[in-house]
């Protein structure tokens, strides 16, 4: 990216201006995410840097908002912090409950999305797959269709999933999926599937189909071939697809607002309520924790991607 030696003075000026522009855009990208971190340690309930914070006075900083994440919703938040206090926090604190729900729903929907999605990606990347393009377009569509439309459709369907069968003259009663964990898990699995399909088919692009034939000619049945030959090679893609699906579920709020009951309070929903009602720096504390969480996920995915490229010999590293 150095200036070539034949550059005119005007081009040199433009080059430095260009670098400055790029720095500014990177700043625009990353500053909003970084700025909430120090603000979450604000001792005052404000969303800006106080005098004390700017002069690095320790009194200007506190961890009270992180503490409030634990105490909010507890039965006895002011009791001595012994085992029973922690048990109270584990059982009653709203943010802790929300985190537990988010993880349960995220993990279950990821398992559904990843297993079905990987299987389908294997089929889609076979050259003899019929209607490949159309089917692929249908499977990716949950990512494209506006979330509000998906959530609206799911709202009606999940309140009475058996309504469909009335077309065939049946009138069964099968309860409702709305307001249940199963409903939210299925909805989130649907939304996560496109990400699994995209990442796993991308991994399979460089996959040598003759490896499967070689395994079969050596006497392996399809199941053994899949677990001993195919799976180890596409595993990095499957894992990053699973992480994408997990993040999709972990971050999803519209479908939860429409189909979840009061029991399925997740972190995004709790944040949504917090932002809409009375925004407090406690939201910034949650946001900071979530940013740290996404940094961890991003690192994992990047490492996996490089490993996958190395395995498949796509990059010269």
């Amino acid at each position: 990216m150095a200036v070539p030696s034949y550059a005119t003075p005007l081009e040199r000026v433009w080059h430095y201006a260009y670098v400055a522009i790029c720095v500014a855009i990177f700043f625009f990208l990353i500053a909003p995410i970084i700025v909430i971190m120090p603000l979450s340690f604000n001792a005052e309930p404000y969303f800006t840097f106080t005098e004390k914070m700017l002069s690095f006075d320790p009194e200007g900083y506190s961890t009270r908002w992180y503490d409030s994440l634990l105490t909010f919703g507890m039965q006895a938040p002011d009791a001595a912090r012994d085992m029973s206090w922690w048990a109270d926090a584990w059982a009653n604190a709203k943010w802790v409950k929300a985190a537990k729900n988010s993880i349960i729903i995220g993990v279950c929907s990821t398992i559904v999305a990843t297993s079905l999605g990987t299987l389908a990606a294997l089929g889609l990347s076979r050259p003899e797959m019929p209607f490949r393009r159309t089917i692929m377009a249908i499977l990716i569509s949950p990512m494209i269709v506006p979330l509000i439309i998906t959530a609206t459709g799911m709202f009606f369907f999940y309140s009475n999933p058996c309504e469909l069968l009335t077309i065939f003259g049946l009138n069964p009663q099968c309860g409702k999926l709305a307001g249940s964990y199963l409903g939210v898990i299925l909805a989130h699995a649907t939304l996560g599937i496109p990400f699994v399909i995209i990442t796993v088919t991308a991994t399979l692009v460089g996959f040598d189909q003759s490896l499967n034939r070689a395994a079969a000619s050596l006497g392996a049945n399809p199941r053994v071939t899949f677990f001993r030959v195919t799976m180890p090679l596409i595993l990095p893609g499957v894992v990053s697809g699973a992480l994408f699906a997990f993040v999709t579920s972990f971050d999803e709020v519209v479908a939860v607002l429409f189909i979840a009951g009061p029991e399925q309070q997740t972190i995004p929903r709790q944040m949504w309520n917090g932002i809409r009602e009375q925004i407090s720096p406690a939201i910034l504390a949650v946001a900071t924790l979530l940013v740290i969480f996404s940094i961890a996920l991003l690192t994992t995915v990047e490492l996996l991607r490089r490993r996958s490229e190395r395995i498949r010999g796509l990059s010269p590293q």
Binding site: W14, M129, L164, I275
Partner: protein
């Protein structure tokens, strides 16, 4: 599939059959052509069976629910199912017929029956969608006639409420007496029917939907343009730097991409507030006085800034992956042939980035058109998009048919764009990170 032509076995059979008169056979004597066709169809079936579980899952949990929802946009039997007699009278008579004794009798009988079955609220709500302010007429009349109603029906009903004689009300009841209707679509483009059934524009102060559609598309276009202006230099920088450095800088693009949408929206709320960081810095720099802090949030500016930031990675990533493949020697060749750096960029480099630009722009536009959360949180009233109106009809006004009609129009637009995207870019070229 075109793959049959590429299949080496197929190639052998076609060339061989041109030379030999005897058809080629397999070791056990079957014609090779048929054996090949059979094995290929078995392979196709196997591949399809792998996809089938997921396809069924998506169809049941996604395609069917959306189809069911869209059905509500043209089907609403709230009136016809609960008021069968008067609906039958409407079906038998011409539009514009004055209500006769039979009509009044049918109406009275239906009102009493549906009040008794406690469905009068549903009926009133249905009429209310097409003629606001009529729900209470139905419920209050229902309360009075529940115990029974005596002839003469016309006079009794008019005594309960004069409004029953309103010709507009009768025209509206005729409109809603069939379960299938296009009126919700008419309403979502700010059209309505007058007493004679002619389509006309609604009153000027009630025209909201066309304006919202227009604003949604205009803001999405603007946001797409902004992501292009901001994304192009970044993608170019990342594509021209050596791999080590660009991988490091790529993290700055991917971190926002992986960060929760709500977190990013919250940070913009914090930054853009009147008492927020940006206003504080501007006051401190003396750019603006303490009393004239800028209103950058809860209006269109808030929606534009936050959505540009959130959608920027979707522009950078496709641009980057195309720019990586551009051979730098073309630009050098242009320069050595005497082109200025601007001409070399405009005539040689930029045209080669167009596939990435097209992919990124379409993706950003498609995602922006359906955005809901960010406008709801930072948009105030002037930054609301059509999705927010759908949500409002779903959760507060409970006019589900209207929500479905608006959703159908939005979905139609998105699907057209998606089809175009698939034709021009191909869904299998979508990349994440």
């Amino acid at each position: 599939m075109a793959n049959t032509a590429l299949d080496p076995h197929a190639a052998i059979t076609t060339t061989a059959s041109g030379v030999a008169t005897q058809p080629l056979t397999t070791a056990d004597g079957k014609p090779l052509v048929r054996a090949l066709a059979r094995s290929q169809s078995r392979a196709r079936r196997k591949a399809f069976l792998l996809v089938l579980p997921l396809l069924a899952f998506i169809v049941i949990t996604f395609v069917v629910p959306i189809g069911q929802m869209l059905q509500r946009s043209f089907h609403n039997d709230g009136f016809s199912a609960n008021m069968p007699n008067i609906s039958a009278w409407f079906a038998q008579t011409e539009r514009g017929t004055q209500p006769d004794d039979a009509a009044w009798q049918a109406l009275a009988a239906d009102l009493q029956a549906s009040a008794e079955a406690r469905n009068i609220g549903v009926v009133g709500t249905r009429v209310n969608y097409d003629m606001p302010g009529t729900r209470s007429l139905f419920t209050s009349t229902g309360r009075k006639v529940r115990k029974g109603i005596e002839p003469p029906y016309r006079e009794t009903l008019l005594e309960i409420d004069e409004e029953w004689a309103d010709p507009q009300l009768w025209a509206t009841m005729r409109e809603v007496s069939t379960p299938y209707t296009a009126n919700f679509y008419l309403a979502s483009v700010d059209r309505t029917r007058d007493a004679d059934g002619n389509i006309q524009q609604v009153d000027e102060n009630q025209r909201v939907y066309l304006m919202l559609f227009w604003r949604t598309f205009w803001l999405s276009g603007l946001i797409t343009a902004l992501t292009f202006v901001l994304g192009f230099p970044i993608a170019h920088l990342l594509a021209t730097l050596p791999m080590r450095k660009s991988n490091l800088l790529m993290i700055l693009v991917l971190l926002p991409f992986w960060t929760s949408l709500l977190v990013r929206t919250t940070s913009w709320m914090v930054l853009l507030q009147q008492q927020g960081v940006i206003n504080d810095i501007l006051v401190w720099l003396g750019v603006i006085g303490g009393g004239q802090r800028l209103q950058m949030i809860y209006n269109q500016a808030g929606t534009i800034i936050a959505m540009t930031h959130i959608l920027l990675p979707f522009m950078i990533l496709p641009l980057y992956s195309v720019m990586r493949t551009i051979n730098p020697s073309y630009v050098r060749a242009a320069r050595s042939l005497g082109a200025t750096s601007w001409t070399a960029f405009r005539r040689i480099y930029f045209p080669q980035t167009l596939p990435g630009l097209g992919a990124g722009a379409m993706l950003v536009f498609i995602l922006a058109v359906g955005y809901y959360i960010t406008p709801a949180l930072v948009g105030g009233s002037s930054g609301q998009l059509i999705s927010n109106m759908i949500a409002q009809h779903m959760t507060s006004t409970l006019n589900w048919s209207m929500a479905a009609a608006l959703a159908a129009l939005l979905l139609g637009a998105v699907l057209v764009l998606y089809w175009l995207y698939d034709r021009l870019v191909g869904v299998d070229n979508l990349k994440l990170g």
